[in-house]
């Protein structure tokens, strides 16, 4: 008769492989799930960086253009072709007051040269709550941007170009690269240089610490000879969420009658002298073109510019600063500003 001890040993002996296997399996499963949960945290490409939040625009770059509007003949650095230049030279800002245009939004390219703060937030969906899209909205006036992250195809060539256009995105490292097609024809700069409805815009979102740099690139085969590139940096707002206001827009009479189309015939735009008048920049530079973007262009400007430089007032009298910094400094002495807003500002009357 087997002893209790031997029966116990026999029982254990039979059970031992099963116990070991079970323990091994349990440990393996535990470790697997730990590793897999780590893997799940990292493979979700949509979450490579968190862009969500409110972003202030310090607007220390091109501040006059972005805040108050560009000068009427300021196309410096724009790679315009002959058609683009002709269109820009014919532009009258009174066109914005056409009743049919009063409630037109700015398009997606306007993010690059507007001064508005941004709010960015993810749109989640599906059973696992993955990020399907990122949404951008500035404070007002823009058609908005939804960056689809789910790999969807662009609409047909026959589909309407919506006010929000169509944008898809993917990650490269921590950079979100968004490609926008289906935009409407709209201003590339607020003084009459337009981009066509065949344009493609690429926005690369690059987070750095508490800042977000966005590199905007516009390809326009109709009006430009080279990519048009703006980089803008925003700072994460820590004090307040950016309000994305959606005020209703009612068409009012803004000075241009229905059916009227304000413009300047070729060679008859009286406002093509501001860059020379205020900055001594000659017309061959202010008219734009790809060569005005490069360092070599300075050689062409140098002699004439230095000759004219002594004619500048010793103290700047107009457009020496912008209202943001005047407000910040308060009652301290400021340079004297010019008397009137520049022609060419949205809604302002211009000679026509």
């Amino acid at each position: 008769m087997a002893s209790n001890q031997s029966r116990f040993r026999a029982a254990h002996g039979a059970a031992r492989p099963m116990i070991v296997r079970t323990m091994t399996l349990a440990v393996a499963l535990t470790l697997c799930s730990a590793a897999l949960s780590v893997r799940a945290q990292v493979v979700t490409a949509q979450e490579a960086a968190d862009l969500s939040g409110s972003w202030d625009s310090p607007a220390t770059n091109d501040v006059l253009e972005r805040d108050e509007g560009p000068f009427t003949d300021d196309f410096v650095g724009m790679p315009l072709n002959a058609a683009g230049r002709a269109l820009a030279a014919s532009y009258s800002a009174d066109m914005l007051a056409e009743p049919e245009r009063v409630c037109q939004l700015y398009d997606q390219w306007h993010y690059s040269n507007s001064v508005f703060n941004l709010r960015i937030w993810p749109v989640t969906g599906g059973p696992t709550g993955t990020i399907q899209a990122w949404k951008l909205q500035p404070t007002e006036d823009n058609g908005g941007m939804t960056i689809w992250m789910d790999g969807r195809s662009p609409p047909s060539q026959y589909a309407d170009h919506l006010r929000g256009a169509f944008t898809t995105g993917h990650w490269k490292g921590d950079m979100l690269i968004a490609v926008t097609t289906g935009m409407k024809r709209a201003p590339a700069r607020d003084n009459g240089a337009f981009h066509s409805d065949e344009s493609i815009m690429t926005s690369t979102f690059i987070p750095h610490d508490d800042m977000l740099t966005i590199v905007y690139v516009l390809h326009d085969p109709v009006y430009m000879t080279a990519p048009y590139v703006y980089s803008r940096t925003y700072v994460r707002s820590v004090t307040r969420p950016i309000a994305t206001q959606y005020p209703p827009c009612i068409v009012n009479f803004e000075g241009t009658s229905e059916g009227t189309v304000p413009f300047f015939p070729p060679g008859k735009n009286p406002l093509m002298t501001q860059m020379m008048e205020f900055f001594h920049v000659p017309e061959y530079a202010s008219a734009g073109g790809a060569d005005t973007m490069y360092p070599e262009f300075r050689d062409r400007l140098k002699a004439q510019y230095l000759k004219l430089y002594p004619t500048f007032p010793k103290k700047c009298t107009q457009y020496c600063t912008n209202f943001r910094f005047q407000q910040a400094v308060g009652n301290l002495p400021q340079p004297v500003e010019g008397p009137a807003a520049k022609p060419g500002r949205r809604g302002a009357k211009s000679g026509s």
């Binding site: 070991v20 091994t24 440990v27 393996a28 470790l31 697997c32 590793a35 893997r39 990292v42 493979v43 490409a45 979450e47 490579a48 310090p58 220390t60 770059n61 091109d62 006059l64 650095g77 724009m78 990650w171 490292g173 950079m175 700069r189 690429t202 690369t204 690059i206 750095h208 800042m211 740099t213 590199v215 690139v217 390809h219 990519p227 590139v229 703006y230 980089s231 803008r232 940096t233 001594h280 920049v281 005005t292 490069y294 360092p295 300075r298 140098k302 230095l306 500048f312 007032p313 010793k314 103290k315 700047c316 457009y319 020496c320 600063t321 910094f325 910040a328 301290l332 002495p333 340079p335």
Partner: protein, 267 residues
């Protein structure tokens, strides 16, 4: 018992290896593999900034960069009244006579001067950037030297660099080669100079933080490489908020267009 335990340990180890074998890319930010010093900066870089570059000024303060700004024009610069006084006293002839014609070529300003750049590795821990405009040289030290870091003030100051490493599609931890990186450079020990050629000043207390990124334009495989620079200048003496600017550079295939020119107080 001993056999039981050794069998168990062996199986456990096997299970461990199998389950962790599924882990893929890793995030190497600030971490090193088990044992050994970190690789040198040049070897650790998953992106390549070397080569020739040229400024592309598409607006982005064209009238303050492509030409000498008007006297007293500081639009966009958050300048305190003390800074305005310095600006109003700007005298390029006096700067030239004093041998200070490079005042507008210091680190906080040099990247905004339309120019060509030549970037190389001086050694495997120091990236060198030369400019043709003003013939300046910047050194980005990945391993700062205490002796050099607080030496005499210069136009280019002392720059400490680090890679901000990134992985494709997410953040990981562990070892392995990262897929992408930005370059962060912090510069101090500056000699007082000008943010703009017309005398808009920065003091020797200024601090410059820069982020260099490589971007392809367009983003497809044959897109041309551009370098996008985000600069933040803080100066408690002359600026009441940080001065944040962005500049773009296009990669060139050769030194074509490289034209060294001496500093000029006027142009």
């Amino acid at each position: 018992m001993r056999t039981f335990l050794s069998n168990c340990a062996a199986r456990l180890a096997l299970a461990l290896l199998v389950s962790l074998g599924a882990a893929t890319l890793v995030h190497a930010q600030g971490r090193r593999g088990p044992g050994g010093p970190p690789p040198p900066a040049e070897a650790a870089a998953p992106v390549d900034f070397t080569g020739y570059w040229r400024s592309v000024v598409q607006d982005e303060d064209w009238v303050y960069r492509m030409v000498t700004p008007r006297p007293g024009d500081y639009a966009g610069v958050p300048l305190k009244p003390a800074g305005m006084q310095v600006m109003d006293a700007w005298d390029p002839a006096k700067d030239t006579a004093a041998g200070e014609q490079c005042k507008s070529y210091g680190a906080p300003a040099i990247m905004r001067v339309p120019e060509h750049l030549h970037i190389t590795w001086q050694d495997d821990q120091t990236l060198k950037m030369e400019t043709d405009a003003g013939e300046q040289t910047r050194l980005f030290h990945f391993v700062p030297s205490m002796a050099d870091e607080h030496g005499p003030r210069t136009w280019q100051g002392y720059s400490v660099a680090q890679w901000q490493l990134q992985s494709q599609g997410g953040r990981f931890f562990g070892g392995g080669k990262p897929a992408w990186a930005a370059l962060k450079v912090t510069t101090t020990d500056l000699k007082a100079g000008y943010l703009r050629k017309n005398g808009v000043p920065y003091s020797e207390n200024a601090r410059l933080v820069e982020y260099f990124d490589l971007v392809q334009i367009p983003p497809e495989n044959d897109g041309q490489w551009w370098m996008v620079l985000t600069s933040v200048v803080t100066d408690p003496v002359y600026l009441f908020t940080p001065f944040v600017t962005d500049d773009n550079f296009q990669k060139l295939s050769s030194a074509e267009g490289w034209e060294p020119s001496a500093c000029s107080a006027m142009w």
